[in-house]
Symmetry: C2
Subunit: 399 residues, 2 copies
């Protein structure tokens, strides 16, 4: 069988490749640099750019099916290469387009009755003013997000006043080019939640548990789960949400893992955004679930049926190891895995992504902790242990 | 940092490489074929033979430390290459020699008061007859094992009578060359046990639980654990054994994981054999323990401290997926991971080694099952589930 192709060489691609190896599934990677995190963990790395047509066509010819680690590749090129070679791409490139552009993403939410914060498209200064009046003012804040290319907080501006608005119009909107922004109401959420949902080629859908996630400087710092419904009301909110998401996946013939982020307002659950790929909020599945998100994505792309994920644990936490400075960390990062920070009833491990240079905010690895302690106290202890290990790791290695 | 080098490209090397990737540890592999199981899972594969001096020297120069997946490489060459390059090899090549030759292995057992079955060296027909009289007859059987190169039952002959003995002398001993055999008493064991023990460069030692193992056609078919002591007597047998093993590792300055196989006679625990490497009987640690044998071996070789392995499970089983015929199995082996054979309270997974051809007895992968059911019933259910998954896998894939 020809390999499953993965476009991109970062940590998401790396974790897909490692899972494929464990499962005996042949894979190939297309990425620019031989030192890319995913390029070093396979003999089947192909040098090239997922945004260059000739590279794509040559790569797709080698593969039985192709997927991607980022929705920011050029969907139209990918679609063209898929048609030229007959190699399917999952999720479909049209889906990438739908979800990589915040405007079409918001429109999809509305079309599929997926609840989201009120919003308006913002292309001109007049649009911006209208968005502030209609959406921002009532909510005491307007969040302006670049339609495309926004990621980990890049391209997001929060406007709290008319003077903020004018600054945005003069500094950013003028430079936005044709892509433009969306302006959405600032949402006073109690917490953020995330959920993985996956669909295979026969239409079967699986979901993972809801987890809480905390963003710091617009980057995921940690996730904590499972966040089971705390009340009948929340139960019905969550179950209505997953029902709608299932219908959404079905209607766009989605294949693969999708990461969904939510604002939990207490009284209401709103979708913040959706990513058509494996997701940082799901890294905990590697250690805590019987069937992790990378396996689920590969199975879906390869055309196999999804398994229902199970967990032996009552709590699990993931803490991102983020760079705090420009550095070449001491190349002994796995030492941190044995920092001596342990706790009875909990297991922990560190995954590293094979990156040799650190920069502020760069994702270098993550800590996973899982345990058997029940209830809020168990989850709190889980997260605290993950935090301690992450802190010790940063201190010892220096990144 | 220069990579940790691994000599050999089979499944043990592959699992070491995958664990290294997960931990961000740089590795390199020296093996003959680009299609070797370990060669396909890294960009740092070097073509060559671990038994050719120039290949070894070139490889050791690239590495910070080197280890091996097989004790059957030429220890003297390896020692020479280590001295020529200054790159340490762990476990030490002398240890390979000590343990790859059953004669020196048995002598080590005696020297270190490690209990083993009575034995004599067998080089000549007269030796064979003496071994039969002194060792074989009283035990109602003599097991003749080639001093070197024996593996998975190759090179082993069981002699139950004088006519068996004569057949052995004429058919096999005559062809043995200078290496010769050892003859050991046939041991009427109740079951076989196995244990992983590991030592790091600071001298710290960790042990994994005892597991039961079953051999079929001289190949490991399954392991099942943990085999905690069933009585105070067995507790003292086991603890005396691990104490002696610890002393043994210390006295030979052993570094890395060692796999130890035992005969459990009920009244007594005897060492069957020892392998100076990661071991098939320890594959369960990949899914069932917080710190698996591959991580332990890499940490020891890299010069880091060992962690104490923990398990969240009360039972765990491993079932080898062995070829039953010459075949090129359908290249969708991971499908078997979703055979639909599941059981509440148990998790299961299949690891495949990326081999594209099957032969009778060839190790193609393994099934891991772990669960929370307690006591003998839990272990029985665990093993039964592993067996069912293995059977379904073989049937569906055809190997």
């Amino acid at each position: 069988m020809k390999p499953i192709g993965i476009l991109g060489g970062g940590q998401l691609a790396r974790m897909l490749v490692l899972e494929a190896h464990r499962r005996g599934l042949p894979v190939a990677v297309l990425s620019p640099q031989a030192s890319d995190p995913a390029a070093t963990v396979t003999s089947n790395w192909i040098a090239g750019s997922p945004d260059r047509e000739e590279d794509l066509i040559a790569f797709l010819k080698r593969c039985s099916a192709v997927t991607f680690e980022s929705e920011f590749y050029l969907a139209s090129l990918l679609e063209k290469a898929s048609q030229a070679t007959g190699t399917p791409v999952w999720p479909k490139p049209q889906t990438m387009d739908l979800l990589r552009d915040r405007l079409t993403q918001k429109r999809s939410f509305d079309k599929h009755k997926l609840p989201t914060s009120p919003w308006l498209a913002v292309e001109t200064p007049a649009d911006a003013k209208q968005a502030w009046e209609q959406v921002g003012k009532p909510a005491k804040g307007l969040v302006l997000k670049a339609r495309t290319g926004g990621y980990d907080g890049y391209g997001t501006t929060i406007v709290k006043s008319e003077s903020d608005l004018n600054e945005f119009i003069h500094d950013k909107l003028a430079r936005a080019g044709s892509a433009g922004y969306i302006g959405e109401a600032f949402v006073p959420f109690k917490r953020e939640l995330a959920l993985l949902i996956a669909r295979d080629q026969t239409g079967q859908i699986i979901e993972y548990p809801f987890v809480e996630s905390l963003q710091k400087n617009s980057r995921c710092l940690w996730t904590l789960g499972p966040q089971n419904p705390a009340s009948p009301k929340q139960r019905s909110q969550m179950s209505a949400m997953t029902k709608r998401l299932r219908a959404f996946l079905k209607s766009i013939d989605y294949v693969g893992v999708m990461g969904v982020e939510f604002f939990d307002l207490g009284q209401e659950l709103l979708i913040n955004e959706i990513a058509p790929r494996v997701h940082n909020s799901g890294h905990y599945t590697l250690s805590a679930m019987s069937f992790n998100q990378f396996a689920a994505h590969l199975f879906a792309v390869a055309g196999f049926a999804l398994e229902k994920p199970k967990t032996p644990y009552s709590c699990f936490a993931m803490w991102n190891l983020l760079g705090s400075k420009a550095a070449r960390p001491k190349l002994t990062p796995w030492q941190a895995g044995q920092s001596g920070v342990t706790k009875a009833g909990f297991t922990s491990e560190i995954s590293w992504y094979g990156k040799h240079e650190s920069r502020p905010g760069r994702k270098l690895g993550h800590v996973s902790v899982a345990g058997f302690a029940k209830g809020p106290a168990g989850k709190k202890a889980c997260l605290e242990l993950a935090k301690q290990i992450a802190a010790k790791s940063e201190k010892e290695i220096g990144y």
